[in-house]
């Protein structure tokens, strides 16, 4: 029912939908986040603390399953180097009830921004690279759920 992965390989969104949807759930909400090529970005590198990332995603998934009536949950985060257009994160939440599927999906994607042990480094076309600073806006969105 709960599928949580942290992987350096590409996320196969269609295959994950197939696997998740096999249950024929009443309502399914999803979120796909992709690397944006803004400002000439050529690579996004996500560094992580493997044990803490896995634990963080697992805790988030179980928090969502405790809070909403979910029939299935998929939470996959990519790590390592990726290019613009590639999928960073996939959230799929299903429930008999649409409001629960939508809320769980929004909760997970907001919390991912603050709760998961990841650091982002952006590299640009001119060769410059920088580590991304935490954003206050993300914290505000995540705290809506407390």
């Amino acid at each position: 029912m709960i599928r949580v992965l942290v992987q350096p390989s590409a996320i196969d969104v269609a295959a994950e939908f197939d696997l998740h949807d096999a249950g024929g759930h009443g309502a399914s909400a999803s979120f796909v986040g992709r690397v944006r090529g803004d400002d000439g970005l050529t690579e996004l590198f996500l560094e992580h603390h493997p044990a803490m990332t896995e634990a963080g995603l697992g805790d988030l998934a179980h928090a969502a399953a405790d809070r909403w009536h979910l029939s299935a949950l998929t939470l996959i985060h990519r790590v390592g180097a990726m290019m613009p257009g590639e999928t960073i994160v996939l959230v799929l939440a299903s429930s008999p009830h649409r409001a629960e599927a939508l809320s769980a999906c929004a909760f997970l994607i907001d919390r991912l921004k603050t709760d998961v042990m990841l650091w982002k480094r952006e590299t640009f076309a001119d060769g410059a690279s920088r580590w991304v600073e935490p954003r206050e806006g993300d914290r505000g969105r995540a705290e809506r759920w407390d």
Binding site: E47, H49, A55, L112, L118, R135
Partner: protein, 85 residues
Amino acid sequence: MVLNVAYFSWVRERMGVGDETLDIPESVGDIGTLVAWLAARDERGASAFAEPHRIRAAIDGVMMGPDAPLSGAREVALFPPVTGG
């Protein structure tokens, strides 16, 4: 005391390694003093830990504050605030 220390993000880059095994003097009993000791130890430490307020830490995968004791720790991780998913 022998301690495994892991670094992430720009802390890792400035330290030049992802993790290392350190022999820590007995006077270094908590995370705050460990960070100060690393900053004083060599140039890479000075560069990575010049601003201790920008450093976060975890002991064996659990986030800890600067007062957390190192005794019993298998791994101490030192890193900047996370930027999330």
